[in-house]
Symmetry: C2
């Protein structure tokens, strides 16, 4: 305590030196000689216990215990060609949907003896490529990615290294990659159908397609498909493509859309964070939700259920995606086949931010000619 300087930021005087030498770490050779067996037997007793005679096995395991032996993974990786390591690159950890998926992935991997190497791309394919290359060079046994659009060199590189690959948050890939996730298009299609049934005819969309992003693109498509079926067109100026899926971006987008198109009754957002911003901005402007406008999100992160009103949204089973990604990737690594497509359910969660359109009959029947 007393060496914490009071100025901020501060550097105390105490220095942390690199650790100094001491007793050396035990290696397999030490275990073998203590147990009076060969290196090979020691190795087998540890890795394939039932292939070695019980008495000997016991001796080896006791030696392991006594020496607190812990295998050198680098040596193991080099000689066996397997690192027991999996690489994952996600767009960002800032979105709870990815944070949750990564947590579940790590748990699933750890349970099977695999270690997670993590990187984030900030939605930048070039960055993602570099991360992938670094992981491959690192010797990962497999990779977990997000989505289905990559830098042109990424997939060839992975294939050249012959490493198994699984992609997530989408349920199909056009590039012959096993995919585990939801059908984004269909989810927003369902959401939009629900809004249509509530009587909404005037839509606007806040999409985070600013950064090329196939999930958001699919979500936008689902919306357009559903309203298109009803003969409704969405002029480009009713779609705002936010660069970042943040609360602030949602707030700002709502403000602009509302100002330009006061007649819009339903605002669809492609992420919860943006919807939270839209709801906050609506409140600030004295616009009632859902009486005046309906607002929807996507993801169902924790905050979605806690806004006022709580958000109608789509639940993305992030933890399930992470768990399945771990299991399936390990299965490929270990030579078993897995399905090319695992589609998880994306549930429509109806809460208070949506409601019937106000005076729909009035709005619809009002003859356009009369307005002029």
């Amino acid at each position: 305590m007393d060496n914490s300087d009071k100025k901020l930021p501060s550097h105390a005087k105490g220095k942390a030196e690199p650790p100094s030498p001491g007793p050396t770490r035990a290696k397999l050779e030490d275990v073998a000689s203590l147990a009076k067996v060969s290196l090979a037997t020691a190795s087998r007793a540890i890795n394939q216990p039932d292939i070695v005679r019980p008495a000997i096995r016991e001796r080896v395991l006791r030696a392991v215990e006594m020496l607190a032996y812990t295998p050198d993974r680098a040596a193991k990786a080099l000689s066996s060609g397997r690192s027991h390591t999996v690489g994952a690159v996600v767009p960002t950890l800032g979105n709870a949907i990815f944070a949750d998926g990564v947590e579940a992935l790590e748990v699933g991997l750890g349970a099977r003896g695999y270690t997670l190497i993590l990187a984030h791309s900030q939605y930048d394919p070039a960055r993602e490529f570099r991360q992938i290359r670094s992981m491959l060079e690192y010797g990962v046994d497999g990779l977990v990615l997000v989505g289905d659009s990559f830098a042109p060199d990424s997939l060839p590189l992975i294939r050249q290294h012959r490493r198994p690959l699984v992609t997530t948050y989408v349920c199909t890939s056009r590039q012959n990659i096993a995919a585990i996730g939801i059908d984004n298009r269909r989810a927003t299609y369902g959401m939009t159908r629900y809004l249509l049934e509530l009587g909404h005819r005037e839509f606007a969309v806040i999409a985070n397609t600013g950064m090329p992003n196939d999930r958001s693109k699919a979500r936008l498509d689902g919306i357009l498909d559903a309203i298109g079926e009803q003969g409704i067109r969405l002029p480009p100026d009713r779609i705002i493509e936010a660069a970042q899926p943040t609360i602030v971006a949602g707030r700002e987008a709502f403000r602009r859309l509302r100002a330009a198109h006061p007649g819009v009754t339903a605002f669809l957002c492609t992420t919860d964070a943006m919807a939270v911003g839209a709801v906050a901005e609506a409140r600030r402007e004295g616009i009632r939700v859902p009486e005046d406008v309906s607002i929807t999100g996507f993801d169902d992160v924790e905050i979605a259920g806690e806004t006022d009103p709580p958000l109608t949204t789509v639940r993305v089973p992030a933890a399930e995606i992470g768990t399945l990604a771990a299991n399936q990737l390990i299965r490929i690594i270990e030579g078993e086949p897995i399905p090319m497509s695992t589609q998880l359910e994306a549930t429509l969660v109806i809460r208070g931010s949506t409601g019937p359109v106000a005076a729909p009959a009035l709005r619809k029947r009002r003859p356009r000619a009369a307005v002029v």
Copy 2:
């Protein structure tokens, strides 16, 4: 697209097989013979370019290019004793404060050629110990942890492996670990002083000390110290120790505290998520913030500025912590000394969720005897 089954969840018929054989990956030996130099020279041309004659260096680098050579990190690690890998274990990625720190850590590490191995402990010291052991066995060059309380075996194990260690989100350690973070006690001390100056005398605390957690403990201490100086005592039933720092936990804690202690005017929460829940619950109950009660958070995550009213909180410089942790750890790894304590500023961010206590004179002067 057409192989996505329509039932949910579904497994399409297509199977992902393990990758099949193809052209083999180039090794350093291939580079050396293509460049007509020895293995040693090839290695040097790549790793210590200025130690080798320019003409030869060029030849080697050209060969690297032609063969798309990428070094085998496991072999490199085994022969050099350095893995260029750093392990980090954080309590959870679910809290933006850690997600942001991990992102910055990864960027800082990547910029210096280090790869991040990540795990999360779910606030469980035993889990953390296992993660640490696995990383050590993996051969990480150093470790980044959070806080200053660990399972009893963790530190001895790290020291036995002689691996550098840095801890974060706290600015001092009692265990002789270099620490990079804020002074949690002092931050809530300042926050509480501010509330005292607004006239508040009746406090309650929502702390996430349910899981043993030295940061939250320090935050609680800072509050108690500040009010203690004013001769105010905080009965235990005015402190709720939530097990998880979630919105729901904050909401529930606020409800219980308010019901039991209607006279409390200031609710201090040790995380923003819990404060968001408290504000939401206050609104639900028709209690005005800040007119009736003031509520404060801690962390300053994005949502803190977007609630209604926005939260008064303490900004934790998570990205800066992550960046500094990367830099300092690498410095120790590379044999340079670093400060034992790096204290970053935890700024008090005053927003709309706090205000002067309502009719303080009235409240204070009302003779207790009269109530009876």
